[in-house]
Structure formats: C-alpha cells, structure tokens
C-alpha cells in the first residue's frame, strides 16, 4: 500500500471556549475522494480551512507529504504548521487547490477568464503570453468552458461557469490535493449534474486526492468513496460512503439520511 498524502491527527480549532471543530482524524491517499458532510455550523468549513493552513490548529496536527526530490523517493510527511509563509504560499499555488463556494472568494472577478487561469503560472514565473494563453485555452476546454469566453470577465459568466473557471484556475498547476467547499451548492440542478460529472472525470484522469465539503448527500455518494459526518464540530460517523448512507449507525447520520427528499 502506498503512503498517505494527507494525515489529519486530532485536528481542532477553537474560538474562545467554543470548539468549531475538534478531534478530527483521517488519512487521504492519492486518487481518493473524501466527503465531509454536515449541516451549517457542523465545523466542516473550519476543517477545510485547517487543512489548507488558512487557520492554525489549536489542537492536533495536519501533515502533508511534500513532493519528493526524485520519482524514486517518496516525499516527507510534514506538519504544515512548521512550514514558512513562503512555502505555504508556494504550496497553495502548486500542489494544493481550493475551490471556494463563492466566486468572489475564488476568482478575480475584474480580470478575464484567461487571466484567472493563467495567474498561478504567472506567479511561478511563466512570462510568455502565448504560452499562458495556450494553457488557459486548454484548461477551459478541459472544464468544458466555451473558449470564446476567454477574454470575458467572470462577472459575465453564469454560476456554473464560474465554478468551472475556479476548477480550471486551480488545476492548471496539477495539484495533488484539491479541497472543495460546497462545489455544487447554489447551482441549478442540471448544472450540478454536469459539474459533478466533470469533477468525477477530472479526479480520475488526474489521480487527484480531494476533500469535498457538502451538505448534499447525493454529491457525497456520487463523488466520494469515503465520507465523514460532522456535527457540532465533531466527527460522529466515518466510513465507506455507501455504508454510511445505506446503513447509518449514528443517530445524527440516520436523521440526515432520512431527511433527504427523494425525487
């Protein structure tokens, strides 16, 4: 068995006396998708921020396996709290992706789609306009965006298109770990279906490891092999997605599952 890409060891975050999330443990390997399911206030978004080093852990650790120097070696599992700001910024631009729930957090709305996709490359020192544009076109194609819109501002895109643009913007540096905060929430149902399909395809093609925060159990079932259920900052249940959804053990999970409307 290969070694884990991400190890979460008792991670917790506190605001005053209240623990927004606490005692979270799991591992993630390349090519695996984990769904974090819960309702508002469950702590799932806080957890995501801890994993992305946007918040420091008050308890526990988040360990990430850095890229190895050569293909023969495996990288070192490193506590992200020990990384410098410069290193974290570099990771956030290369190895990690973060797809935000709201476009204004995840995109630059005042520059074109192409500039959004090319930004990471520019930050890494790519200085050839033609090449930047070429990469932007390629990734827009891969996320099924109309390439004719490359010079349009994302403010003119629909919600689904903005989401796709975010995905392209993150994937352009081929990250190994992608965190997604409610990737389908707020989109029309048909748009959701297409986006989910795209996410499935891309994660398989690129062998991504992904953590998807969602309140939608259907999204968890479709995308993730494993699911953890959070409530009031704690993980109340964890396991294979189909097991958690078809045979929920914890009272809260049973409540969630039974509350979902079936069409």
């Amino acid at each position: 068995m290969t070694e884990p890409l991400l190890v979460v060891d008792g991670a917790g975050k506190r605001y005053g006396t209240r623990w927004a999330c606490r005692g979270v443990n799991f591992q993630l390997h390349s090519g695996e998708m984990l769904a974090v399911v819960g309702e508002s206030g469950s702590g799932k978004t806080t957890l995501l921020r801890l994993l992305a080093a946007r918040l420091p852990c008050d308890e526990g650790r988040v360990l990430y396996r850095m890229r190895a120097e050569s293909a023969a070696e495996s990288g070192t599992l490193t506590d992200i709290a020990a990384l410098s700001a410069a290193r974290l910024r570099w990771l956030a631009r290369t190895d990690w992706g973060y797809v935000e729930q709201h476009a204004h957090d995840g995109l630059r709305l005042n520059v074109s789609g192409g500039a959004n996709v090319g930004e990471r490359l520019m930050a890494l020192g790519v200085r050839h306009y033609g090449r930047l544009r070429g990469e932007a076109l390629e990734w827009m194609r891969r996320v099924e965006l109309d390439t004719a819109r490359i010079d349009d501002l994302p403010a003119t895109y629909s919600g689904g298109m903005q989401r796709r643009l975010q995905i392209a913007r993150n994937l352009v540096t081929r990250p190994r770990l992608v965190l997604m905060d409610e990737p389908t929430t707020g989109l029309d149902v048909s748009v959701q279906a297409r986006l989910l399909d795209l996410l499935r395809k891309l994660t398989e093609e690129l062998h991504l490891a992904a953590i998807i925060v969602t309140h939608d159990l259907g999204v968890a079932r479709l995308l993730a092999q494993r699911t953890i259920v959070m409530r009031d900052g704690r993980v109340v249940e964890a396991g294979l997605t189909d097991r958690v959804l078809d045979d929920p053990q914890h009272p809260y999970t049973q409540l969630l599952v039974s509350s979902v409307l079936q069409p």
Partner: protein, 315 residues
C-alpha cells in the same frame, strides 16, 4: 563635520533665511531621514516607512522629494529642480526658490553642473555621472496599489516576492487591448527582487534607470515612504517574452533643436490646432541649440482622423 549654520555666507553669496534651520528641517529629522535613506539604499527598491514631516506646502506638491533633498543637501551642493523636464514650470520654480531661501546653495539649470537634481515626472536626457543624485517626487510609492489597495496585503506580497498580481494585470492589458497599456509609472523589478514604482515618469525614461551611474532616491511625503536605487543597479521593466517592453518614439524631431530621440512635448500653438513638438527637457534642448542645432520651427498640421504621431519601437 560641523553642522552648517545660517551665519556664514554660502557659496552662491546669497544669505539664507536666518529664521529657519539650514534646509528647513531640524537636524534630528535630517538624521532620521538619512538613516532611512541608508536602509533604502541597502535594500534596492524596498519601500522604507518614515515619519514624513509637515512641510510648508501641501501634500501632492513634492513634500517627499523635498524632505529627501533637504536631508542630503550641503553648502557645496549645486541644485537643479525640474518638473516635467522643465526648469521654469511652477513647481520647479517654487521648490528651487524654497531651497535658495533655506540653504543659499547655488542652483543651476544645467544637468551636468548639478550635484543634486530633484525631479517630478521625468529623468533628464543627459546621462548622469557618478556622484550625482537624482531625487524623484513620488505620489504613490506602491506599484500594486491599483490592484491591491490594502497595505497589509501588499507588504506580504513584497516580502514573499509574490508579484503574480502585476503579471495578471499586464496579461489582461494584452488580452483586452493588444498591448500593455501603461505608458507612465511603468512597474520595474529592481536588482531582480523588489517590484517598484519608478514614479510617474513616462516609460520612455525607464531604460535610463537601469545601471545608472548616479544614485536615485525616491520620496513620497503623503504616503510616508522612501526608497532608493543605488548606482549600477539593474532595473528591468516588466514585460512578457513575446511582448517585450517598448518605449515611445515620435515621427517628428524637436522643432527647436532637431533632436530625433528625446522625449517630446506636444504644444498647441494656434486655434486651428497646429502643434509644435519640442523637447520636454528644457536644459537638453537649450544645450543643443547652444551647440548650433536648429529644428524646423514649423508647426505640424492638426490631427485628422487616423495616423497617430507616436509609433512604438524597441528601445
């Protein structure tokens, strides 16, 4: 070294104003600013905060540049002050008169005679030499300001040399307009490290900053920042490999001195809209005329639709 006082006559023979300390600022302030300047010189292109003093004129009129000049000027210096290349514009006249009154030092319009040149919005055409100091007046020292107004953010971006934001802006210009649109205050990378605003000089002047023999100092009074480019420092204008940096060129030569490659001002001369193109650098133009060069002196016909006067070419 003794502190200059206001009792003895100065080299120019003009008595400075006895109610004020030499160069207006008190000695402690000068010392503070000199320390700031040392730090700025030690870290080329890095904006050093300083406690900008109240000057007897408003922000936006060169208080930063004046504070820098006031901190470094000595009795034996020769001062030139220009604004948009000319010695006789309002701003230049006032600042020159201010320093005459506050220091009594000799002033000049000849670039090659000056030891300190304070400038707003231009670099003199004549190449500078070792020992000269060019002091720029800077309104907004932060090159990223329009893209990221938050000071806390830009501080971090500079610390991490994270300048993707500026590249994004340049990319966007090319995507929307076909070329990088900035023609003044064109961002540069100093010593391969810090992104710097060269102040609102035309991009035409940017190449002059590169490996300049003189010391270049920048003062922003309202924003309270000082920065510097030591002599022989690399200063590179941002561009893309396939969209390299270009300066402006004119189809016309100077109407007065016939200079083919200086920065030209366009002057409307009559109600029909006829124009004269003349050197922006008044000293440079006067020098050429003194050497016998003569321009055509003829106004250019008004612009019809189409045909720009300014064409782009590689420097």
């Amino acid at each position: 070294m003794t502190t200059p006082t206001n009792d003895s006559p100065t080299a120019s023979g003009v008595h400075a104003d006895h109610d004020y300390n030499f160069a207006f600022l008190d000695e402690h302030t000068k010392k503070t600013i000199r320390r700031t300047l040392l730090k700025a010189v030690a870290i080329p292109g890095y904006q050093v905060p300083f406690a900008s003093r109240e000057m007897p004129f408003a922000f936006g009129w060169g208080t930063g540049g004046v504070q820098v000049t006031a901190s470094i000027i000595g009795r034996n210096d020769v001062l030139k002050v220009i604004d948009q290349g000319a010695d006789d514009t309002t701003n230049a006249v006032n600042i020159r008169r201010f320093f005459t009154r506050m220091t009594g030092v000799r002033t000049t319009e000849r670039t090659i005679e000056a030891s300190i040149i304070q400038t707003r919005h231009r670099i003199p055409e004549a190449p500078l030499s070792e020992g000269q100091i060019l002091v720029y007046q800077v309104p907004m020292p932060e090159p990223l300001f329009r893209l990221e107004p938050r000071r806390r953010e830009t501080t971090e971006l500079h610390a991490l040399a994270d300048y993707g934001l500026m590249s994004v802006r340049l990319y966007e210009d090319i995507a929307q307009l076909g070329a990088i649109a900035r023609t003044y205050d064109y961002p540069v990378r100093v010593n391969g490290r810090y992104l710097m605003s060269p102040s609102p000089i035309p991009k035409f002047d940017n190449p002059k900053m590169h490996l300049n023999r003189a010391l270049q100092l920048f003062g922003a009074g309202r924003e309270k920042r000082i920065y510097a480019v030591p002599p022989y420092t690399t200063v590179e204008s941002l561009d893309f490999e396939d969209h390299p940096f270009q300066v402006q060129r004119w189809q016309h030569a100077c109407a007065l001195c016939d200079a083919p490659d200086s920065f030209l001002d366009e002057v409307i001369v009559d109600n029909a809209g006829r124009r004269l193109f003349v050197c922006s650098d008044s000293d440079f133009c006067a020098g050429r005329r003194a050497a016998g060069w003569r321009g055509s002196g003829c106004p250019v016909e008004p612009l019809r639709s189409g045909g720009p006067d300014c064409k782009k070419s590689v420097p």
